[in-house]
Subunit: 110 residues, 2 copies
DNA sequence: TTTATTTATTGCAATATTACTATATAAAAA
DNA sequence: TTTTTATATAGTAATATTGCAATAAATAAA
């Protein structure tokens, strides 16, 4: 075997895992960092920012797009990529709910 | 090729990626969920909760432990696993900082 | 001490990911 | 129309992950 057994987990658990997995590579963290700090959302700018070959960056962009964390729009010859806040909110809310649950637990046993 | 080129990214980016990657599997999300909602942090309870073989669960626990998201303490015959709030906070802070940056950006271009 | 219980490790097969070169595609510029 | 520019896809090799059965290790119980 070797494939994840998603059928044993809830939709929510699978969704959070997919989103976290998408962020689970430094190149994709770097892409998100870049999109957050700049107005240049053109694909070529991102490729220049990341020290990996253009097809590799394209592949990472595709993975972020597949889970909805970024969206692309055609801008003439180029493609403009932007963060989709609504999808990022899912992760933000997940970590917020963890914070709340941790506060409720008076003490960790270890 | 095939291995992640961490040398091209910042320590922060690599750290966030490693933490996110650890959460990037539904079994590990389920383990965290379980540890948040129960007082039973004994390894055997976690194994019963997750529909995967004991060695597989043990491996997932190890990965969470490797990045520091959980910590284990010996409890007689058994092992008690707990969430390490300080490490989780790193991810929480990362997503909080993203929220702030998104607010500063008046408009997304796409 | 012997046996049972609990957890970790080993070894393996199946699958997925990472990164690249080469190439395709599609719009813009000449 | 031809060429350039920008991005995506195909194909491939290297590496990593997932999951399990079998087994080891270590403590507890008998």
């Amino acid at each position: 075997m070797g494939a994840t057994k998603t059928e044993f987990f809830t939709n929510k658990q699978n969704e959070i895992a997919l989103l976290a997995k998408a962020i689970g590579h430094p190149a994709r963290v770097a892409i998100i960092d870049y999109l957050l700090k700049t107005e240049n959302c053109i694909c070529g700018d991102i490729v220049n920012e990341i020290s990996l070959a253009q097809p590799t960056v394209s592949q990472h962009l595709k993975e972020l797009k597949n889970v909805g964390l970024i969206k692309g729009s055609i801008e003439g010859n180029a493609i403009c990529y932007c963060i989709d806040e609504k999808v990022l909110e899912k992760l933000q809310n997940y970590f917020l709910s963890i914070s709340k649950k941790l506060l409720k637990k008076k003490e960790n046993c270890c």
